[in-house]
């Protein structure tokens, strides 16, 4: 304001005289003010600081909790992953074990299959054919295959025999043991049911 005052002076000159006389009027008196006034404003500041600290603390606590929780979860998931890995591995090795040539051969033989034949080849040019379509004379234990077959049919026969035997002997036994509680029809029924599983 003081800097602009000289510039305004010409205008001020044109003002009426009383205006010039006014500065002599009473100025506000300077008084000492009390030093206590600021203390009233410190409390909110402390509350703010406290709140910030508290929030910070809680936030850190929460972060820690979340981190710990995540660590537990990660741990659990890792364990699950390991278990699944192990399962996958066990299944994969099961597949490998089942597809091993010796196992396949054994199973094929059990199904009555036999080693392959030499393919017949045809020459497209003139239709000539070579090769044979009879089983290889030698591709391994043909006797073993027939042996297991024979065994299988034997055991089947013996099961049958056992079954027929059971049918003649079983009901008698059953009636003997259960005659006190069940009627004859009930016992023969259970006797029949048991036949196939017994031998």
């Amino acid at each position: 304001m003081s800097a602009t005052a000289p510039l305004r002076r010409p205008a001020a000159l044109r003002l009426p005289a009383p205006a010039q006389a006014k500065p002599a009027q009473p100025r506000p008196r300077l008084v000492l003010i009390s030093g206590r006034r600021p203390t009233a404003g410190r409390l909110p500041f402390l509350i703010v600081i406290g709140a910030v600290l508290a929030i910070g603390l809680v936030a850190v606590l929460m972060l820690h909790m979340v981190a710990a929780q995540d660590a537990y979860r990660a741990n659990a998931l890792q364990q699950k992953l390991a278990t699944l890995h192990n399962q996958e591995q066990e299944l994969a090795s099961q597949v490998e074990a089942d597809s091993a040539p010796s196992v396949l051969r054994h199973r094929a033989a059990a199904l009555g299959m036999r080693p392959g034949v030499v393919a017949k080849f045809h020459l497209l040019k003139d239709g000539r054919a070579v090769g044979l379509q009879t089983p290889l004379a030698y591709t391994q234990p043909a006797p073993a295959v027939t042996a297991t077959k024979a065994k299988a049919s034997n055991s089947a026969k013996s099961t049958k025999a056992a079954g027929t035997k059971a049918s003649t002997t079983k009901p008698a036994k059953h009636t003997a043991t259960t005659s006190t509680t069940k009627n004859a029809a009930g016992t023969t029924k259970t006797g029949e049911k048991k036949k196939p599983t017994k031998p």
């Binding site: 990660a74 091993a100 040539p101 080849f121 090769g131 591709t139 234990p141």
Partner: protein, 561 residues
């Protein structure tokens, strides 16, 4: 009062100084050791697979069950719970669980699968814990076990490729340190250091598992049927020297090494030497043909016996004077004929060709314990060495050496180093092939072709091995029926080594197969006991690999004149 207080203060201060200042490191270390646990991370051993990637040896995660008797208050109850799952009698288990000295002793003799371990841990028996480990499994048991070998109880290679490639297969164990709570449980996220384990590399073989299996089946059967001591089958691709099958019988089951016969743990195809007998005649003839001393039709007069130096030599079957061509000598496997050819050749050239075909040194196949065989140095030859070598006695070879000789002839005279490793792959990386096998010309393509034509006569009705014929295909080969050394400088009473080596199709060979039977008792001629095995394995391999016949006619063989 003040003095007492001061004394107390200084006492406390002194103690503080001692704990914090002087013994600080000791206590810090002991706290560290209580809180910090370091575990070994077991590196997974690399697989050994066949040429198509089917594992022949694999490693799976497994677990050991261990017990801490100090934490078991009721051993009887614990034993009762555990016995059925561990497959152990209750009383032995009770004794073990009751014995404080058995702390952390294994409750399972061999590691068990994680699923089995989970079942045991589900019982929640206090003091029972698991240890992570791995287990080596051989999915098809005996398949190629002679090649692949086996591992010892601690999982390190102890035989075969498992031993010779142990460094590559094993990888490096790692360690992991983490903080543990009061009960020893790991604190989540409390890991302080991790030195991850580096798994071992995978090794891929050139073996084809189906052919290997067929070869093993056939040779096992024939060894039993003929009462032989052992038998070997080698199947090779002559173009690249790759071994498709290397079977031997009797073998062993690497899954149950404890019950295997220690004498059956090696790979006889490379470790065991034998005198090849007549299969060696092709070298004598290849040499003479290559040096232009004879042609397949060169006539020879074969007397009933022949005297060279101080030795008199006969043929396997006695005969009068015969008039055979070179082809006839090979087809009828005449020792006297071979001697006559060798005499034209002379010791220097025979020695040269025997060595050129790979005798007297290892083949370079890269299998452990390979024998070089025995070829006497030229300087030590006596008057009878030349005739004896001409028909394959007095020289010791391995089955792979002979297979390599025939592969050379099948590959138009170029010897390709036999190989059985198709490649290795570090974990997560591509398969890298080993150096390509070295190639070296031994005889000309023309000589090799002439010999193959001659060898077709062997499987004709007039030859020694009609049993080797495969319908539709042209089969060339040679039988061997060698006298076995009795270990006392002679041959009497030691029986024979019967063999057959052949190639199909004869005019453009794709496969070479060798069958050796050591001392068969029921029949001993190569054509009678070894050729049928060749027929079986070769038919199967042709079928499996889809090799078509060539639709050509064999040349008319002239055996006599």
């Amino acid at each position: 009062m003040l003095i007492v207080a001061l004394m107390m203060m200084s006492l406390i201060g002194g103690r503080l100084l001692q704990l914090q200042g002087l013994d600080r490191q000791k206590y810090a270390a002991s706290a560290q050791s209580q809180q910090l646990h370091t575990a070994t991370l077991v590196a997974k051993r690399g697989e050994i697979t066949d040429r198509d990637g089917h594992p022949i040896a694999a490693t799976v995660n497994a677990q050991n069950i261990v017990a801490d008797p100090s934490q078991i208050s009721d051993p009887v109850a614990a034993a009762n719970d555990l016995a059925p799952l561990l497959g152990k009698p209750v009383d032995t288990l009770t004794t073990q669980l009751d014995n404080p000295l058995s702390k952390y002793a294994l409750l399972t003799p061999t590691p068990i699968t994680p699923t089995q371990a989970d079942k045991i841990m589900a019982l929640q028996v206090p003091g029972i814990t698991t240890q992570d480990t791995t287990r080596r499994i051989y999915p098809d048991g005996r398949l190629a076990s002679n090649v692949v070998g086996f591992v010892n109880a601690s999982g390190a290679g102890a035989g075969g490729l498992e031993l010779s490639f142990n460094k590559i297969l094993a990888g490096h164990n790692g360690t992991e340190s983490f903080q543990v709570g009061a009960n020893g449980q790991p604190i989540p996220d409390g890991r302080t250091s991790l030195d991850a384990a580096v798994p071992g590399s995978t090794i891929r073989l050139t073996i084809q598992r189906d052919i290997q299996f067929a070869a093993q089946q056939a040779i096992t059967h024939q060894v039993k049927a003929t009462g032989a001591l052992s038998g070997t089958v080698v199947m090779m691709n002559p173009r690249n020297g790759q071994v498709l099958a290397l079977a031997s019988a009797p073998g062993f089951n690497p899954n149950d090494i404890a019950h295997a016969n220690p004498n059956h743990l090696s790979d006889p195809a490379v470790t065991d030497g034998y005198e090849p007998g007549s299969v060696n005649k092709v070298i004598t003839m290849a040499a003479a043909l290559q040096d232009k001393l004879v042609t397949p039709l060169t006539p020879f007069v074969i007397p009933p016996s022949i005297k060279v130096a101080d030795g008199i030599f006969h043929d396997a079957e006695s005969h009068g004077t015969e008039h055979l061509t070179l082809t006839g000598i090979l087809a009828k496997s005449s020792n006297i004929g071979a001697i006559k050819v060798a005499k034209k050749l002379g010791p220097d050239r025979l020695d040269y060709y025997l060595r050129a075909f790979g005798f007297g040194r290892t083949t370079g196949i890269g299998l452990p314990g390979e024998s070089a065989g025995i070829l006497p140095p030229l300087a030590q030859w006596s008057g009878t060495t030349l005739p004896t070598l001409s028909f394959g006695q007095g020289v010791v070879v391995t089955a792979v050496q002979i297979a390599s000789v025939y592969s050379t002839l099948a590959n138009d005279g170029v010897r390709v180093t036999p190989n059985i490793i198709a490649g290795t792959a570090a974990p997560g990386q591509r398969m890298t092939a080993p150096h390509p096998p070295t190639k070296r010309r031994v005889v000309s393509a023309a000589t090799a072709r002439e010999l193959r034509d001659m060898m077709e006569a062997v499987t004709s009705d007039q030859g020694t091995a009609p049993a080797a014929r495969i319908a539709g295909y042209r089969v060339a080969g040679k039988t061997g029926t060698a006298a076995r050394s009795n270990g006392h400088g002679g041959y009497s009473g030691a029986g024979y080594t019967a063999s057959f080596v052949g190639m199909v199709p004869a005019d453009h060979p794709k496969l070479v197969c060798e069958v050796v039977l050591d001392r068969p008792l029921h029949g001993y001629f190569g054509g009678a006991v070894a050729a049928p095995v060749f027929h079986s394995v070769m038919s199967f391999a042709l079928q499996t690999l889809g090799i078509a016949p060539t639709f050509t006619k064999p040349p008319k063989a002239t055996l006599t004149w």
